[in-house]
Amino acid sequence: NVSDGKVKIGVLADMGGVYADICGKGCVTAIEMAVEDFGGTVLGAPIEIVSADDQLKPDVGSAIVRKWVENEQVDAVGGLVSSAVVGAATKVTTEAKKIALISTAASNAFTTKQCSPYNVHWTYNVVALANGTVKPMVDAGKKKWFFITADYAFGHALEGVATKVIQENGGEVVGAARAPLGTTDFSSYILQAQSSGADVVALANAGGDTVNSLKAASEFGLTQMMDVAGLLVFTPNAQAMDANTAGGMRTTTGFYWDYDDQTRAWSKRFMERHGDIPAMGHAGAYSMTMHYLKAIEAAGTDESDAVIKKMKEMKPDDFFSRNATLRSDGRMVHDMYYVEIKKPEERRDNNDIFKVVSVIPGDQAFAPVLPECDFK
Amino acid sequence: MSTYGEKLRIDDLHAFYGESHILHGIDMNIMQGELVTLLGRNGAGRSTTLRAIMNMVGRRTGSININGNETINMPAHKIAHLGLGYCPEERGIFSSLNVEENLLLPPAVRSDGMSVEELYEMFPNLYERRYSQGTRLSGGEQQMLALARILRSGANILLLDEITEGLAPVIVQKLGEVLIKLKERGLTILLVEQNFRFAAPIADRHYVMEHGHIVEEIQANELEAKTELLNTYLGV
């Protein structure tokens, strides 16, 4: 009972912009792997994949998704990286009653403010990052915090969530500098951080912004004066950082390729196809697609309401999803990892980036379901 | 004919601006120390002839021999170094340079050009305004500057396009004297003139142009005899 004789998954990601390495082509590869591993067909119908570049623009992304669901019979949309694009895209999927398989977006809005019965949010979110990274540091006595925040929705959200965590645990925020997205020169903000008298400078930004802000921090001697915490550091970004300055910095991630044999096995296959080690979004995209296809199989139809119901009933369990459940609000809750970036002398090779400090159980990482988002 | 002393020789020169064919096979030659004028109505192609010699037209064919060098395939910037000085119709004063910079601009192509002092003496207006921006000069002053500029470069073949244009009669008179002096120094001059009264007494020969052809060559001593003919060509 498959509509129009096939199951079609659209992969929307940033293929050429700053997040291209984080999801981009790699997400397409991961989803292809999932489809192949699943056998290429479900309920006897072929599984097709289309992909598109959202260019990090909400208008482009939403237009593509609209075309897919209105004109090209796409059943679910995967990938989904930049929070701005995801926000626009999920408006369209929700209206069309199609499932959004969000792998790499950071915002927690898709299961809170903008929640929808058709949203599935897998890998991580800002709350998990803040809980994972900030709490241990505050507990360790680093009470005064300064933020260098990317001046747009994602950065504000991350700063907001982290601030809450800091305050709840007895710390205080002594200041924040809002840097426009894509700032290349962070020196002014670093100076502000320096004169703030904080214990920790938190980088509430992502991608190139994180790399650049860390670089300026080291240049102006900030790293010697205070701790720097990268709230969101993807493996490709960590690889791009100067190991001398980044080494020792701690952060939180939803997946690390070198965690155990299971992760290594999958990552090796991924690396053979893609060239680079998988970032957390890649693994999440694979895991989520697999779960989606299994749910179709189990539901006996590709009709969205039935599939999403099954997805929430079934327990995700694979190399990525540890101790996992997909909650009624669409949030997938699983173990997160508190990691430290390795110093140069600790590294075997360029892919040896993180060492896992501790595993954070999912219910400590993610916030509980909001009543208004409790879709049964 | 012996080529001794022949400074400029043009054979079958055709010139084009884009699609339009302006010169249709010009032949002329000028000997050292001669002052030759090009006469004709507006649009006859006199300025174009000068521009073609300097390789400033769209395309040209034929032969232009300067001082024994064939220049039809020579890039524009090499031609001046054969000793040519060109004073364009529209004067070509540079607004980004002041008067003195304009005057000093063209590189010397021969060593015996006139000195700046001599030139200032000849054109006192220029001395007075020497730090003024080039294009701020009055029309006539610009004309003086354009001429002075090439006299300084030491060129010994001068191509002068309408140099008396817009000049007060006193200055025109003085210019006539200057040209005669230059001729005495052995310079070769090709003059395009509208002001026949100015050109007639100082020229050795006249070429008359019409529609891109040379239609008549008149020696200075034939001028009286051919006045009628000239009038029909020039519509005087």
Partner: protein, 273 residues
Amino acid sequence: MSADYVLETRNLVKEFKGFTAVDDVNLQVTRGNIHALIGPNGAGKTTVFNLLTKFLIPTTGQILFNGRDITPMKPAAIARAGVVRSFQISAVFPHLTVLENVRIALQRKEGNSFHFWRPQNVLNKLNDRAVELLDSVGLAEFADAQTVDLSYGRKRALEIATTLALEPELMLLDEPTQGMGHEDVGLVADLIKKVSEGRTILMVEHNLHVVSKLADRITVLQRGAILTEGDYATVSADPRVREAYMGTAASEEQDRANEQAARDAAAAEETQA
């Protein structure tokens, strides 16, 4: 003074960075005259023109047009008031037809120039007047030609027709015959004479033949100041003018011409009598 002046300047001064290009000029142009402004190069003639049409702002002094102070007005406003200038380089709209060139000038008075919602053929009612004007300069047969294709002299004629369309009280002509062959010089001079009927013309001209033929009154400028004024005979007889402007050769020639003119005038009077 009680004479009827169209244009008057009072103590007009223009300084450029300490250099006085126009120095205390009191110019009076009588209605109906062709008034010529001559003088050596750099005397300030073009600058005076630029001041009159507000392409330059006077340092001090006043400009009166029909007794009204127009010193603070903008260039376009001056043109609308009736002072129209022709340019040294031919000023036409090359890719409009000859007729359209004239019509643009006529259109301004229609008051519909900002009407972007009306079809263009509301302008057709101006065509008759445009053709009339073209006819007056001998261009009627070229009405539909593209202006670029006209010869130099005809472009000048067109420009004058366009200027006439504005029905200027005062026309300012800056070296109208510059760069023209003899034939065209004659043509344009005749044209100026013709259109001077019923209006005033102020012109700058180096061609003394044209000046002698056309000008009712001449002002000679030197170093920014007025050297002398008068009709052609007076001015050309002035030794200062000869020295500063005309030069000896020209002057001799002028003397001959003056005599000739005097004889012609005498002859004309005789025939009239």
